[in-house]
Symmetry: C2
Subunit: 212 residues, 2 copies
DNA sequence: ACCTGAACACCGTTCAAGT
DNA sequence: ACCTGAACACCGTTCAAGT
């Protein structure tokens, strides 16, 4: 039952299937879903729990920056396989049981590194900004027309000398949006760039906190 | 017509009203919405355009960090008045016409500061991470039970000595989630914290870029 | 206890018929 | 050209009736 929901999520995303489809996938009537699991929200919770339980957690003894880089980059790889999960994870946080151990782990790594009382805030910044970025990629994947329209709009402004900032942005899109594969590579690079920036920012805080 | 959609968005959020409600608000039948504006997506686009057009753009002569801090913090204030707008803005980007001038402005400020070819990437990091954070606040505002459930779950782990990281997170929530007002203040502080971290990160990049 | 099948109260959208 | 009102094809959810 939950397995079927996970497979459907893998194929169509968490918002891409209906209770009726889920019931049909297990050759049953919609009402049996309610009888055994509950309403749609309950099914979604089960999927979240299962996906988070499958997220790899880096080894304890890594330096904080390496631990977090690995967790976020590897985490993206698994979250992206289940569209829509990242967004709900960002909004629900440790409501998903499997998220409790991850939160504990992540914050412990930060405290050991010297972040002290700021560890919880740092945790929330790192997790929510990364998960939300994955959620953004999910939305683009679910509706490719969103980005092709952006590409089309920007293409029209590539040579505008009165708007040099916009022209620069347009030429960036022109370089990366040619084919499917370079776009995918660009997304992966950009996520890494965003994660590295978040970690840079946090490093700055650590330098200040440990200096005094 | 679009005015009515904006008012409904202000009250119920962009996903909180239906075509039928919009039609009723202007004392008409659903079909007249299609006749004059188009489908729901077209109405949403009109709302986005209107909200973005109302976003304050800081003065040209500000230092890059001040310009961006102001833009993002003031931008949050206006976006939060229209729930659901921030999320769509993050996914659609400069597809919304009023966003073109803002993108040009923001990137120009970065290029003048010395970010060079990296300006477009920095722009995308700053805008998407901030807008997505607002989108997260929007979701929490639309469904307060999300956070109260998180608070309840964490409350149960406040004194767990086997999970010190989780206990630290729980005590943070315990301090901030008492009443409505301190929660609102915490959200505002956290957004500022996140923006400051993003700007710190970008400052690090600028130091590297201008050093060589 | 569990499944069946219909029903309810909604959606967004379309369309022939009116004026 | 614009409005009317019904209809279509969907939702999530509920529930009496069956086994």
């Amino acid at each position: 039952m939950v397995d079927a929901a996970i497979r459907l999520t893998e194929e169509h995303g968490l918002d891409g299937w209906t209770i009726r489809q889920l019931a049909a996938a297990i050759r049953a009537w919609p009402a049996v879903v309610y009888h055994h699991v509950g309403d749609r929200e309950a099914v979604v919770d089960a999927v979240l729990q299962s996906v988070v339980a499958g997220m790899p957690v880096p080894a304890d003894d890594l330096p904080w920056r390496d631990w977090w880089h690995r967790f976020l980059v590897d985490g993206r790889a698994t979250l992206r396989r289940y569209r829509g999960v990242a967004r709900r994870l960002a909004t629900r946080g440790p409501t998903v049981p499997a998220m409790l151990a991850i939160a504990d782990h992540g914050i412990r790594v930060l405290r050991r590194a010297g972040f002290g009382a700021e560890s919880s805030d740092v945790y929330q910044v790192l997790v929510s900004s990364s998960f939300l970025m994955v959620a953004l990629e999910d939305e683009w994947a679910a509706d490719p027309s969103l980005r092709s329209r952006t590409a089309a709009v920007l293409a029209a402004h590539r040579d505008r000398e009165d708007m040099p900032g916009l022209a620069a942005l347009a030429s960036l899109w022109h370089r990366t949006c040619n084919d499917q594969e370079t776009l995918r590579a660009r997304d992966e690079w950009f996520f890494g760039y965003a994660v590295d920036r978040a970690l840079d920012a946090v490093q700055v805080r650590l330098d200040i906190l440990t200096a005094k």
